[in-house]
Structure formats: C-alpha cells, structure tokens
C-alpha cells in the first residue's frame, strides 16, 4: 500500500499544530476561554496548570475528543500543518489516531478490558493503513518492542488485566504511535503511575520523540517535569492561557504573577528543610473563564485598577517569543 510505504519511509518529522481562539463550554458555562497557541514542527509544548485550569479540556477540545452532548467547542481554527480540523467538512477522520496520537492519564482504564492487546493495537492500524491481519500483527510486535515490552509476540494475546500499570502505559503509547503520528498529545501520562515507573515512562516518551522527531504536547501539573520534557511552556489559569514562552526563559523568569507564584511555591518545596513553603493565598474563582477582568486579580499581590478589564496576550518587552496576559507588561503601564 502506498500509504503504508509513505508512513514507513517518512523521516517522521513532526507537524505544526496551531490552535486559534479555542473556547469550550459545558452546558453554557465557559470552561476554556479563547485559548490560542502554536506548536512548531518537532517542538514539545508543555501545558501546565492546576486541576480545573482547563489544560486537558483545551487539548481534548482542540482534537475533537470532548463528548458533543455535554461540550460545545468553538475555534477560529485548529490546524495540523495545513489541514484544518475544525472547519466545515474538516477531514477529522484520518487525522485522529492517524496523524495525531493521544496518550491518556490512567492506562488501567484506557484499554478495553474484554479485547486482547493485539486487537486494540491493530484495529485502528488496519482501518487507517489498510493493513491485513498479518502485516498489522507484525507491526504491533515491532511497536511493542519499541516501547520496551519483551516477549511481544506471545503477549499480544493477553488481556489488559494481565499487565501492570506501567506496562499498560507502554502499550497505550504503542497504540498512539501505531500509525506513525506527527503529533503526540500526552495528557498527564505519568500521574496515575507508581513513582518508580513514572521516570521510565517519561524517558520512554522522550526517547521516542527524539527518534521519531515528533511534535509533542505534554499536559501536566508538574512544573519540575516541564524542565525536562518541554521546549516551550504554556501556563493556564482558570480556563485561560496566562503565559507562554520558551521553557528555559519562562521557568527561570516567569512574567505573570500567577506563574511566578506557582514557581516560587515549587522552589520553596525544593529548597526543603527550614525554608517556608510559599503558597498563593486563596483559590481559583469557580467562574474564572467568565470574569470580565483578569481571573487572577482577586489573588494577585500586584493587582491594580486596570485588572478589572481583561488583559490581552502580548509579547513581553524583552522577548517576542514570550507572551503574557497581564497589564503589568503593557507598554503604557510600564511607561
């Protein structure tokens, strides 16, 4: 098959992924408000935020994985390279699972308990790449080897309950890679795993990303992890993107007061004994995405009158690749 040869011989360069003006509402209530970002080909973007900040909803909404019965998703566009995923008549079929692979948080529930691993590793392969059973099986064995599962040929006939959590996550990674995607979305792929296994899974995804040249979106609440996995970092708060920039710059010198507070609290944890654990007073507002002004204003140590209106996302004066949604960095305020 030509499609297959193309997939096999392509230098598996990652694709660019661009989200513009994504808004998600659950039964009328805004959960993600006007989020835009771009992942360059082969780049790894880390999306960080606390529970409920909308980081997963952003990624799942962008690729059409939210239940349409409960979620209304709007966007100006969502593009994988030149292909628009959200426009009218968008060729969604053939994109998800084929050019975009997704790894979920909890592998113990991400696999169908009543189907064999072989069936689950090959059903989308056969659909997207039009492989016959033998070719799909051979490919599945190769994939399991790539994710570090030994004795793959025998284990193909196993059911999910016959594997440990760490092994299952390797299998779901193999599933996501099955059709040679150009973009991998990892939605907190280590959160549900034992601490000892977490590092292995991080290493595995990073090595696969390097060898395949994948574009990567890694969703996490773990700032420390971002240092290792991300080229660029996007910080979300209360359903809005508040800061986005190169990982080394942003993690060293966060601009947004929320990002700065988040980093300070994590660093106070690292310095350990004796040091006071820094926290941000208060909790995120439940209606954050619907607030007319900055959603962080009620907790912000540097709040001022302009914060009652919503700050636009704009480049920081020092770095054009570093964006922040905060009035403190508005040229007029600084002047």
């Amino acid at each position: 098959m030509t499609t297959m040869i193309a997939a096999e011989t392509r230098a598996t360069a990652g694709a660019s992924f661009e989200v513009d003006g994504l808004t998600v509402r659950f039964s009328g209530k805004t959960a993600v408000d006007n989020v835009s970002f771009r992942v360059a080909p082969g780049e790894a973007l880390g999306i960080v935020g606390e529970s409920g900040s909308g980081k997963s909803t952003t990624a799942m909404g962008a690729v059409g994985l939210l239940d349409p019965e409960i979620a209304a998703v709007e966007a100006r566009h969502v593009r994988l390279d030149m292909t628009d995923l959200r426009g009218p008549g968008a060729p969604r079929a053939g994109i998800l699972g084929r050019r975009i692979g997704v790894v979920f948080q909890n592998p113990m529930v991400a696999l169908n308990p009543v189907l064999t691993i072989e069936r689950q590793l090959t059903d989308h392969m056969r659909q997207h790449l039009h492989l016959d059973a033998r070719a799909a099986r051979a490919r599945a064995i190769r994939l399991l080897g790539e994710v570090g599962i030994t004795d793959a040929a025998r284990r193909l006939s196993f059911y999910p309950f016959q594997f440990s959590g760490g092994m299952l996550q390797r299998i779901t990674i193999a599933m996501a890679l099955a059709c040679d995607p150009e973009l991998l979305i990892a939605d907190e792929p280590t959160t549900a795993l034992d601490a000892t296994v977490q590092a292995e899974v991080v290493d595995l995804i990073l090595s696969i990303r390097r060898s395949r040249g994948l574009s990567l979106i890694w969703i996490t609440h773990d700032l420390a992890l971002l240092n290792r996995v991300a080229d660029r970092v996007a910080v979300m708060y209360a359903g809005r993107l508040v800061e986005i920039g190169p990982a080394d710059v942003l993690l060293d010198h966060p601009a947004h007061p929320y990002a700065a507070g988040l980093l300070a609290s994590v660093q106070s944890l690292w310095t350990g004994e004796g040091a006071e654990f820094l926290t941000i007073e208060g909790a995120p507002p439940p209606n954050g995405p619907e607030m007319p002004g900055c959603a962080f204003a009620p907790r912000c140590p540097r709040v001022f009158d302009r914060c009652a209106t919503r700050p636009p996302m704009a480049s920081t004066p020092a770095d054009a690749a570093h964006g922040v949604a905060c009035w403190l960095f508005d040229p007029k305020v600084q002047a």
């Binding site: 998800l96 169908n112 009543v114 059911y159 599933m175 099955a178």
Partner: protein, 317 residues
C-alpha cells in the same frame, strides 16, 4: 471449561435436594386431601382410608419423602394419583410445548430488548430513546394475562389473523405451528423484553462514558467499530445477568400464558394437577422447573465467561 461445567453441575445437587424437600413439605402443608378428592364426594371414611393407604399417604412424611427421593434417583417419577399413568409419560408429552413457548419467548425478548436497548442506548434522549422507554414501561406494567387476552381479542377474534388459542405441533406444518405460537410468544416478549431493553440501554449509556471508549475515539476508529467493539460488547456483560433473571420470569410466565392460550404445556398441567391435588405430578413438574432454572443459569454463567476474559482466565491466576 469442562471442569467448570462439572463443578457447576455438582453444585446443583444440593440445590435440587433442598428444593425437592421444600416442594414435598409445601405440598403436604397445603390444604386439601388427595385421597378424599379421589374417592369422591359420597365416599365413606373406610373408602377414603383405603385410597389413602393405596397411595401410600398413610405413611409418615419422612418415609414418603425418602421413598419419593429414592425413586427419583433411579429416574422413576412415580404414577399419577388420579389417572394412574406414569408421571414421566404425562410430563413427557408436555415438555416440548413448554420448551417451544419458553424458547420462543426468550429469543423474542432478547431480540426485541437487545435491538431496542442498543438503539436507545446509543442515542440517549433522542425521540427513539424516549419512545422506547415509554413503551417499555407500559410493557412492564401490563399484567401478562391482560396483554394475552387483549392480543386474543384483537388478532384472534376481531381481525381473525391468528388462531385465538391452542397449539399446532410443528409436525402439522410450519406456518400453522408458528401462527399458533405467535401470540403466546408475543405476550411473553412484551412483558420480558423491557427488562433486557432497560438493562442494556443503561449499561450502554454508562459504557459510552468509559475512558477506554474515549481512547477508542482517539484512535480514530469509525463510529460503528467503537459502538460494536467498545460499547455494546462491554455492555452485554451486565446484561447477561439480567437475561438470567429473565429465565426465571419466563418459567413462571409461561405457566400463566399457557392458561390464557390453552397451551398444552407444563404450566397448564401444573394447574390442573393442583386442582386434583395430584401430588406426584405437581412434585415432578416443580422439580423439573427448578432443574430447568439451574441448567439455564449454568448456561448464563458459561456465556458470562465467554464475554469476560477475566473470568475465563480466572483459573490461571
């Protein structure tokens, strides 16, 4: 697999023993004296005593029970207290009609409930879903004898499409046999399909939200494949349990339907035997019903193992 079947059959032995005792005691405790009924209204006390002695009813309960049980173990169901014919022959003639009815009722209930439950489950809150749910509630609420009589009044008497009562054996022509079976089977299905339909619908709606279903969508599988391999297949597991409950309903329901449609099965046999206090026939029919129920549940358990690999592989872990 064979070991599993054998184990389950062995487990059935105490169940059958206990139910045989319950059936026996239940019969002796129920009012009415078979000897007096058999001897007739004007019979003298001596005649009644003679009949009682001939039937062995003058012996102690323990002796009677052990004798009955001993005969059962050799495959002897005894003789009818009324006609004197072997019970095995009387019951033998009635088993096929009842099996026809129960099998037809089961298949129709599973098909109707399965199809409607799947459609309603995959399209929650759609017009179809709401219509199916409303009709199911009606079917559940309507008493079976009423549904049966309504069907007879409409299709048997007013429209004359189907014979209003009675059974035509399959040996006398497929068409006529199916026509005679249609209304009794429909009556059973109307009462029992809603059970399957509701179970399957709820199970599917819950499964649709499972993480592995979202993961299947993330693989870009077509809607049909996701529905078939990831939603319906998994939803069948709890539904099989409901089907097991259904079998119990069908055994009881078949008796009722047999009366309404003058169907010459075990149910109508049981009712006439009850009227005559024909202990040996009643005991045999009830025991066979219990055995049928135990056997049906064994099938359900095997099916469960077939659908759920975790149970199938339980012996390896």
């Amino acid at each position: 697999m064979l070991g599993f079947v054998l184990k389950r059959l062995l487990q059935a032995i105490p169940v059958l023993l206990i139910t045989s005792l319950l059936i026996f005691v239940g019969m002796r405790l129920s009012p009415g004296d078979p000897a007096a009924m058999l001897a007739g209204n004007d019979a003298s006390a001596e005649t009644i005593a003679a009949v009682r002695s001939r039937l062995g009813l003058d012996q102690s309960y323990a002796t009677q029970y052990l004798k009955w049980l001993g005969a059962l173990l050799t495959g002897d169901l005894g003789r009818s207290m009324v006609s004197g014919l072997p019970v095995s022959r009387i019951v033998g003639e009635r088993i096929a009609p009842t099996l026809e009815l129960a099998t037809g009722g089961l298949v129709a209930s599973l098909l109707l409930g399965g199809v409607l439950g799947t459609l309603a489950g995959l399209q929650p809150n759609s017009l179809l879903d709401r219509m199916v749910s409303a009709v199911a509630a009606l079917g559940l609420a309507a008493p079976m004898f009423w549904t049966g009589m309504l069907l007879v009044a409409v299709f048997g008497v007013a429209l004359k499409w189907l014979p209003p009562a009675g059974r035509v054996p399959f040996s006398q022509g497929l068409g006529a046999a199916l026509a005679s079976l249609a209304m009794p089977v429909a009556t059973l299905a109307i009462a029992n399909a809603p059970v399957i339909m509701r179970f399957l619908r709820d199970s599917i709606q819950e499964t649709r939200r499972a993480d592995y279903v979202r993961a299947a969508h993330a693989k870009g599988l077509s809607k049909t494949v996701v529905a078939r391999d990831y939603i319906v297949r998994n939803s069948l597991i709890p539904t099989v349990t409901a089907a097991g409950i259904l079998l119990g309903n069908l055994i009881g329901g078949a008796a009722l339907v047999e009366i309404v449609f003058s169907w010459p099965g075990m149910g109508s046999l049981l009712v006439s035997a009850m009227g005559n206090r024909d202990y040996s026939v009643i005991q045999a029919v009830l025991l066979i019903a219990v055995f049928g129920f135990v056997f049906a549940n064994l099938i359900v358990d095997l099916l469960y193992g077939l659908l759920n690999p975790r149970i199938r592989h339980a012996d390896q872990h």
